[in-house]
């Protein structure tokens, strides 16, 4: 259920590395309970923005405001592009880690929570497996299980479909939508995947040269009479058509 009240507000965010300015004043509003996709060309600053939101990078200027409860670090999770799973820990231990280190739950309660999270993502049979023994898609689900086990109010996804084939990409977005509804979190997704973003998200934002060029609904994005937005939308339509045609063939 989308609540129009924002869970996250970003104003005038700036970040540079030496002389290279990556974010030159980003504004963003994320409504509670929605899926917001951040689009942009390579080097537009999408991942840097996400790392600033997660507290991994300190902005040079600007404001990031997380509303009521989401400001707590525990309530905001991050799913890394390469999953960032602990390769020396089993699937169970990976998911249990945030609970062991940041809560006062008893071991039996942690076990119950972890097994429930693994079961929800279809990984209960792989609890003893190490990340290297799992497929790419299963690792992605394991990363999501670890991100969701603390019941966060907001989950940040960094390029969740990078390196996956079209079917798997579709599966990842379906998974985000399905678990967003089941666990009631707000999703902020950085992606290059325009067709999936426009079909699965409630709102999209486009970063262009370090600034927010557009933010609105996918319908507004598609209907906009703007050459830059059109280039993204046309690309999305072409890709979707190609995928559909290839699928029929």
């Amino acid at each position: 259920m989308i609540d129009p009240a924002p869970i996250l507000t970003v104003k005038g965010l700036r970040k540079g590395f030496g002389d290279h300015v990556v974010l030159a004043g980003v504004d963003l509003t994320v409504p509670r309970g929605g899926i917001v996709c951040i689009l942009g060309r390579s080097g537009a600053g999408k991942s840097v923005l996400l790392k600033c939101l997660a507290g991994l990078l300190k902005p040079d200027a600007g404001e990031i405001r997380l509303e009521s409860g989401a400001g707590n670090d525990l309530r905001c999770s991050y799913l890394f592009q390469a999953n960032a799973l602990f390769d020396s820990l089993s699937a169970f231990e990976n998911v249990a880690l945030p609970l062991e280190q940041t809560t006062r739950l008893r071991p039996s309660e942690i076990k119950r929570e972890v097994m429930a999270a693994l079961k929800n993502l279809g990984l209960e049979k792989f609890a003893d497996h190490f990340p290297a023994q799992l497929s790419g898609g299963m690792q992605k689900r394991l990363g999501l299980a670890r991100a969701l086990v603390t019941r966060p109010a907001m989950v940040l996804f960094d390029e969740p479909t990078a390196g996956l084939d079209p079917l798997a990409r579709n599966g990842v977005f379906s998974m985000i939508r399905q678990y967003r509804e089941a666990f009631d979190f707000t999703a902020v997704v950085v992606t290059h995947d325009v067709p999936q973003a426009l079909s699965a998200s409630d709102r999209v934002a486009l970063l262009q040269e370090g600034r927010t060029y557009f933010q609105g609904t996918p319908a507004e994005f598609m209907a906009a009479d703007d050459s830059i937005l059109r280039s993204f939308a046309d690309n999305a339509e072409t890709t979707t058509t190609n995928l559909t045609t290839n699928g029929r063939e």
Binding site: A54, L56, F80, A84, L85, Q101
Partner: protein, 261 residues
């Protein structure tokens, strides 16, 4: 001339900033003791990594060090008609000097390098960032257990080095060269005083903290290596950890000895 001074100034500032960063890193890791949960599990794993895995190499090196000391000591002392003091020579040399230094160098070579590489890989595979996003202090989770384990492992392995090395001296001095074993063991026993043991354990403690902190810091800051990234940066960090730890061990050895002698 001005250019030279500027370069010297820049280098000096870099060294001072690096030392400050290192001190803050170690301090933060110790302060994190009070906040880190399930520390015992992490310390037990670190004791296994630093202690159990290094026990064999430390024992073997200690045995050969004792054998060589016994051989060299016997012939040198025999020239002055003092071969009976071989036990004193071996036990004091090991206790006051060789055991803490050699045990430390062996642990650094075996466990310290692995630690630097492991933490460097954590850095490059974003596992350290993942800890931060899960509200887990990376220093408390990764570094604090290693530092606490070093407080226990280094004195124990140094003590083992002294005992095995003294036995090695007995093998070469008494079993091979014919020195009376009663004379060897009684001189070895009476020569070592409380102050010698204190110096030995103090050195082991200081070397342990300093070297493990250097190894952890090198891995943790692998992403800051200029001109390299990824596996190359991890490899440079590992080499750097071993070299800096070895230099720091010998420098600290000189300083502690000059204060205590």
């Amino acid at each position: 001339m001005t250019g030279l001074l500027q370069t010297l100034g820049r280098k000096s500032l870099t060294v001072v900033a690096g030392l400050g960063d290192f001190a803050s890193f170690v301090l933060h890791a110790f302060v994190a003791v009070s906040r880190t949960r399930h520390l015992r599990k992490g310390v037990a794993r670190a004791i296994h990594q630093q202690g159990v895995r290094c026990l064999l190499v430390v024992t073997v090196v200690a045995l050969f060090a004792g054998l060589v000391l016994g051989l060299q000591g016997y012939y040198v002392l025999a020239r002055f008609g003092s071969a009976g003091l071989l036990g004193t020579f071996v036990s004091l040399t090991l206790t006051r000097e060789l055991a803490p230094v050699l045990a430390t160098l062996m642990i650094v070579g075996q466990a310290g390098s692995a630690l630097a590489a492991e933490i460097g890989i954590y850095r490059y595979s974003e596992q350290i960032d993942a800890l931060t996003t899960m509200a887990i202090d990376p220093l408390g989770y990764l570094i604090t257990p290693q530092l606490l384990a070093s407080l226990l492992v280094f004195p124990i392995l140094t003590t083992a080095f002294v005992l095995v090395g003294t036995f090695g001296g007995y093998l070469s001095g008494s079993c091979l060269l014919g020195l009376d074993s009663g004379v060897y063991w009684s001189t070895a026993h009476t020569a070592v005083q409380f102050v010698d043991v204190r110096e030995c354990l103090l050195k082991a403690l200081v070397f342990g903290i300093v070297t493990i902190a250097i190894c952890c810091h090198s891995g943790f800051t692998a992403h800051r290596r200029t001109g390299a990234s990824g596996s190359r940066a991890v490899s440079i960090s590992t080499t750097r950890a071993v070299v800096l730890s070895s230099i720091a061990t010998l420098a600290a050895d000189y300083m502690i000895t000059s204060f205590l002698v």
